[in-house]
């Protein structure tokens, strides 16, 4: 799986989660907007973290060097 596929999965999860909160916790427009903000912030944070770790490992400058004991 490449970078863009997983990113798409994150987008998908974000959309599904926002729809879920919209359907399950429908408490009027301003509360819904708040919930949407929460879900989007969470999705973006999680995606950022994943993307950073993924990108860092894409073109390795350092490779794993096994320690002597193994």
């Amino acid at each position: 799986m490449g970078f863009s596929v997983t990113t798409l999965i994150f987008v998908g999860i974000g959309i599904v989660a926002s729809l879920c909160t919209r359907i399950c916790f429908n408490r009027g427009p301003s509360a819904n907007l708040f919930h949407l903000t929460l879900v989007l912030t969470a999705t973006i944070c999680c995606w950022m973290m994943w993307a950073i770790v993924y990108l860092a490992q894409m073109k390795p400058l350092i490779v794993p060097i096994l320690s002597e004991g193994e």
Binding site: S30, A31, T37, I65, L66, S67, E70
Partner: protein
């Protein structure tokens, strides 16, 4: 001011802005005032202003009522004390009582006098009971002395007589007859009997001996059971004593000494017959007294029980009454003395509810006139009120403990709810520890109802209060744990095989040159192969350091964007053009560019040295980048960015103070010529509230202020970015600690192949994990996440100089006392 119609594309977001507030004025007829305030207290949506701040508590209208309430509260405290002493627990019942406060006052007074009388009587009876018990003891013990003494005397006499019968021997002293004669001549001995506390008995004896120069004879006998001292009412261990003395002088001395030692004396008859009679009498009286005391106690217990059944309600009623009167004292009396005038803040949405409450109160108290409700216009800053629920309140608490938001200021809570647990989890990434934390949070959430009614100790209460924060912290820790691929520091190949393999089949150079990447990048998180390799630390350090900077720059940008929302909301164009935009440019031309370089470096796999690039961007921007060049046109871009950064500093500093000055002059010019618009209303308001509009404009002050702001931002951009490196440091510490515990404790114990060592190792591992990683590390990661939000995020936009909305409410009274 923030009275802006909030139209536009989207509805207003919950929690983003505090509730719009209004200053309202109520004019309440005096006959319905009490009920009105009571209903408003039930509603809990109005914060009364103290209109009598200049009056002392005694000068206020309802001072006497408050005194009455205080007196009633004192009586209730007295009852509570009595109930505690008698072991009667107040029962909690919710059935409302139909007692009004006046009846209750009468009732409480009656009960109090009854109870004090009962107590006094009981005490008196108890005292005489104790005295009798002591007396009986004295009679018994001293009786024994006399009995043994007498029997010994009889024995001696018998012996003597028998000796005399056997004829005079050689040993018979010659003066025996005289001695016997002398005996009869001797003065009659007096004696005293009583009880003395055991610990003092030795001293008592010594003092008696010294005071009378040895001319006393003291007998003591210990009383096995401790007796209750009639004077103090305490249980003490005592000795019965009988002291024989000669002469009135000695008696006076002994009496004094007895008094000094707290030794109670009791009359005592010498003859055995009389003694027996006394004992009988005393026993009879004891039984009588006991029944009387018991009957009294039963009566008292009944009374206390009946108090206990209603205590909570009375207490609630008195507290309510007291707070109502306190509130009534804040209202000012109308000139006609027929109305009370109240002023206070209320959320705009509560208008209808307040009007309803007023109407109900007028109806229920048969008042002729309704209370009048009107909205006042003021320049005073309203209090800040967020409608939080049990989930958001703890997050709002985190923000509030830094500073309460200014009225209608953008509230960081909307982002903090997610970013706070997220940044915590970046430092606490381990899904094993995350699951432990999740279980703890779930325990608190499941037992929420039970725990919230209980009284908890400080630490538990804090944890309980933050249970929803801990819940999200745990969930994000599990997520970041998967990203870091650590389960109690052990990696798993959950998302497929590792991307690295040996270079050839023999795997000879795996420990020297290293493995080679053969597959696609590990799809989710850190490749498990890194764990335990020699290059693990250099790799993770570089990754986490760069991640900290990227996350930090993102969050700081969010903070600056929030300042844009604030400026837009308060219609402050100056802040948009001369604060938001140059700040954005400055931060992103330096650290946004650094982030870009990091990402480009990762994507291209370039060997460029980013520190070198960034340092030489300042030192010699025109030099060729050489091998550090990451992309074409980098040098020109750097020049442009550097220029922008240099331009944005004076852009932030200079124009704003001048524009403010101009605006101030323009406003003053206008105000001095146009008359006040609606005269009566604004006059009324001005008289009550300090206006904020007519402050002196001190240009130098404003300029210095702006200078400080600018310096703070420019230096802060550097130091705050560096501050985000704590994310790296703490996450490194966490993973290193947990791997030390795992390898040096658990794996070493496993290596011994011994069950006992394994169990000991397991116990040490569990304690170390819970104590150090789950408690200490959680706390430190929490504090660092807190700091990153309070300082690095919020100083970009948050003023936090507002004050909280404290509505008058009955449910909140418990906190006050």
């Amino acid at each position: 001011m923030g009275e802006v119609a909030r139209g536009g594309c989207c509805p207003p977001m919950d929690l983003f802005r505090s509730e719009p507030m209004q200053l309202v004025q109520l004019i309440i007829p005096i006959e319905s005032a009490h009920r009105t305030v009571s209903y408003l207290g039930d509603l809990a949506l109005l914060q009364f202003k103290d209109l009598n701040a200049d009056k002392s508590p005694f000068q206020r209208t309802y001072a006497t009522q408050i005194k009455r309430c205080g007196e009633m509260a004192r009586r209730l405290r007295f009852f509570k004390e009595q109930m505690l002493r008698a072991g009667v627990l107040p029962k909690y019942s919710t059935t409302p009582i139909g007692v009004n406060i006046d009846d209750l006052e009468v009732k409480l007074t009656e009960i109090e006098s009854e109870l004090t009388e009962m107590n006094a009587n009981g005490e008196k009876l108890q005292r005489s009971h104790n005295e009798l018990v002591e007396y009986k003891l004295v009679l018994q013990k001293a009786g024994e002395f006399f009995h043994t003494a007498q029997s010994r005397a009889l024995e001696q006499q018998r012996e003597y007589e028998s000796r005399q019968l056997s004829g005079e021997s050689m040993e018979t002293p010659l003066l025996q007859d005289q001695e016997l004669l002398g005996d009869t001549k001797q003065v009659k001995l007096g004696f005293l009997a009583g009880l003395v506390p055991r610990e003092k008995s030795m001293v008592f004896e010594r003092i008696l001996f010294r005071a009378t120069r040895g001319n006393v004879f003291l007998r003591q006998a210990t009383v096995e059971e401790p007796v209750i001292d009639p004077v103090s009412g305490d249980k003490t261990e005592k000795n019965v004593f009988v002291v024989f003395y000669a002469g009135e002088k000695a008696k006076a001395k002994i009496l004094k000494i007895c008094d000094a030692f707290g030794a109670n004396r009791y009359p005592f008859a010498e003859e055995l017959g009389k003694q027996a009679q006394m004992i009988r009498e005393v026993s009879g009286r004891l039984v009588e007294l006991k029944t009387t005391i018991d009957a009294g106690l039963v009566h008292r217990d009944n009374l206390l029980n009946s108090i206990g059944a209603q205590f909570e309600q009375w207490d609630a009623l008195v507290r309510k009454e007291k707070s109502i009167n306190h509130t009534l004292n804040m209202l000012s009396l109308d000139v006609t003395k027929k109305c009370l005038v109240a002023e206070g803040w209320s959320p705009v949405f509560a208008t209808k509810q307040i009007q309803d409450a007023l109407q109900r109160a007028a109806l229920d108290s048969n008042s002729q006139v309704n209370a009048i409700f009107q909205v006042l216009h003021t320049r005073e800053l309203p209090p800040t009120y967020f409608r939080t629920n049990k989930f958001t309140s703890s997050y709002q608490g985190i923000i509030d403990s830094y500073g309460v938001a200014k009225y209608q200021e953008a509230n960081p809570t909307v982002y903090t709810v997610v970013t706070f647990p997220f940044l915590f989890a970046v430092m606490f990434g381990d899904w094993g520890h995350g699951i432990c934390l999740l279980l703890a949070a779930l325990y608190f959430i499941i037992r929420e109802k039970k725990l919230s009614s209980q009284k908890l100790d400080d630490i538990t209460e804090m944890t309980f209060g933050g249970r929803y924060v801990i819940l999200l912290m745990a969930l994000f820790s599990i997520y970041t744990g998967f990203i870091y691929n650590e389960f109690f520091s052990v990696p798993f190949e959950i998302f497929g095989p590792s991307a690295y393999e040996c270079r050839d089949l023999s795997c000879r150079d795996a420990t020297t040159v290293g493995l080679i990447k053969v597959r696609d990048t590990y799809p989710f998180g850190v490749d498990p192969v890194w764990h335990g390799t020699r290059s693990e630390l250099p790799f993770l350090n570089s990754l986490k350091m760069k991640m900290s900077i990227l996350l930090g720059v993102a969050q700081m940008n969010l903070g600056i964007i929030m300042s844009y929302f604030n400026a837009k909301f308060f219609r402050n164009c100056v802040n948009v053009w001369f604060q938001f935009i140059p700040q954005m440019i400055f931060l992103n031309s330096l650290f946004g560019y650094l982030s870009l370089l990091i990402i480009v470096k990762w994507c291209t796999g370039s060997q460029a040295d980013l520190y070198h690039i960034l340092i030489y961007m300042f030192l010699s921007p025109t030099d060729d980048l050489g091998e550090n060049q990451l992309f074409v046109g980098q040098k020109n871009l750097q020049l442009v960015l550097l220029l922008l950064a240099f331009v944005s500093v004076p852009w932030m500093l200079i124009p704003k103070p001048f524009i403010l000055k101009k605006q101030h002059e323009a406003r003053h010019g206008v105000e001095s010529y146009t008359p006040l618009e609606n005269t009566d209303e604004s006059l009324q308001v001005e008289s009550n509230h300090d206006s904020h509009g007519h402050e002196e404009f001190e240009f130098s002050e404003v300029f210095v202020h702006q200078l400080i702001h600018t310096i703070e931002f420019v230096l802060g951009a550097v130091s705050n970015t560096a501050s985000y490196l704590r994310l790296w440091a703490l996450s490194l510490a966490h993973s290193e600690l947990s791997s030390v515990f795992y390898e040096k404790v658990l794996m070493m114990a496993w290596g011994y192949n011994n069950v006992i060592i394994l169990i000991v190792g397991l116990i040490v591992f569990i304690f170390a994990t819970v104590g150090v990683l789950l408690v200490m590390e959680t706390l430190s990661a929490f504090l660092h996440a807190l700091r990153l939000h309070w300082v690095e995020f919020q100083n970009k936009f948050y003023e936090g100089d507002g004050y909280k909305f404290h509505p008058f409410s009955f449910s909140l009274q418990d906190d006050e006392e």
